[in-house]
């Protein structure tokens, strides 16, 4: 039931854009996105709910396609501080079991 993320790893130069995808085999109610820096805890970025709109803050945004059971995270004009491992997390209903995706390692280089 673990959602699958792609790509597994990506290396960007500062200022480049990236897209991280998250796919589930089950119908979804919500998708979360988290970033984990090396040696630290995952930090919540945003949540997308079924029937909700595309979300974003600053240069990081995300979309949720309920029919395809997929979500994408968009990072534009990447900064060095964006480096880390990104996880999606999915739930089928409110309060339902929540599963983290396989993770995407993103490295931004000068």
């Amino acid at each position: 039931q673990q959602p699958v993320q792609s790509p597994q790893a990506v290396i960007l130069r500062e200022g480049e854009d990236a897209v991280i995808n998250c796919s589930s085999s089950k119908a979804l109610y919500s998708v979360h996105w988290y970033r984990q820096k090396h040696g630290e805890a995952p930090v919540f970025l945003m949540i997308l709910l079924k029937g909700g709109e595309q979300k974003g803050h600053d240069k990081i945004s995300a979309s949720f396609n309920e029919k395809k059971q997929q979500s994408s995270l968009y990072l534009t004009a990447s900064q060095l501080s964006y480096s880390g491992t990104y996880f999606c997390g999915t739930a089928r209903t409110t309060g339902n079991q929540f599963y983290f995706g396989t993770g995407t390692s993103l490295t931004v280089i000068p």
């Binding site: 979360h32 995952p42 949540i47 409110t94 309060g95 079991q97 983290f100 993770g103």
Partner: protein
């Protein structure tokens, strides 16, 4: 003021020992979780408690026993530690709906030798 605090941060112990990890949150959340992150960085849910009631108990060896004395605390006790238990254990909390996301503790790196 730390929102979700875990202790200890590091734990090195020998096989066969019993150890505990403590977690406390001051966010007023009603749901708490234990996650295990292995060397490949997979975050796997182990347990979740809602208002002190066990909600999720994934396929975890019964050597692992969570205890929630109140909704602000969730501890994890591990008996007869094995080499394969080495991992980073994260405590997290959220509102039941999860709509504001999960807040994680800083993690406990457990090394079994």
């Amino acid at each position: 003021d730390t929102a979700v605090s875990q202790t200890p941060k590091y734990l090195v112990t020998q096989m066969g020992n019993d150890k505990s990890i403590k977690c406390e949150q001051n966010l007023g959340h009603d749901t708490m979780y234990w996650y295990k992150q292995d060397s490949k960085k997979f975050l796997k849910i182990m347990f979740s408690y809602n208002n002190k009631e066990l909600i999720i108990n994934e396929t975890v060896p019964n050597r692992f026993s969570p205890k929630s004395p109140d909704k602000a605390h969730l501890n994890l006790h591990i008996n007869s530690l094995e080499l394969g238990d080495s991992a980073v254990y994260f405590c997290a909390s959220s509102q039941w709906t999860g709509e504001y996301g999960y807040t994680f503790g800083s993690g406990t790196r457990l090394t079994v030798v």
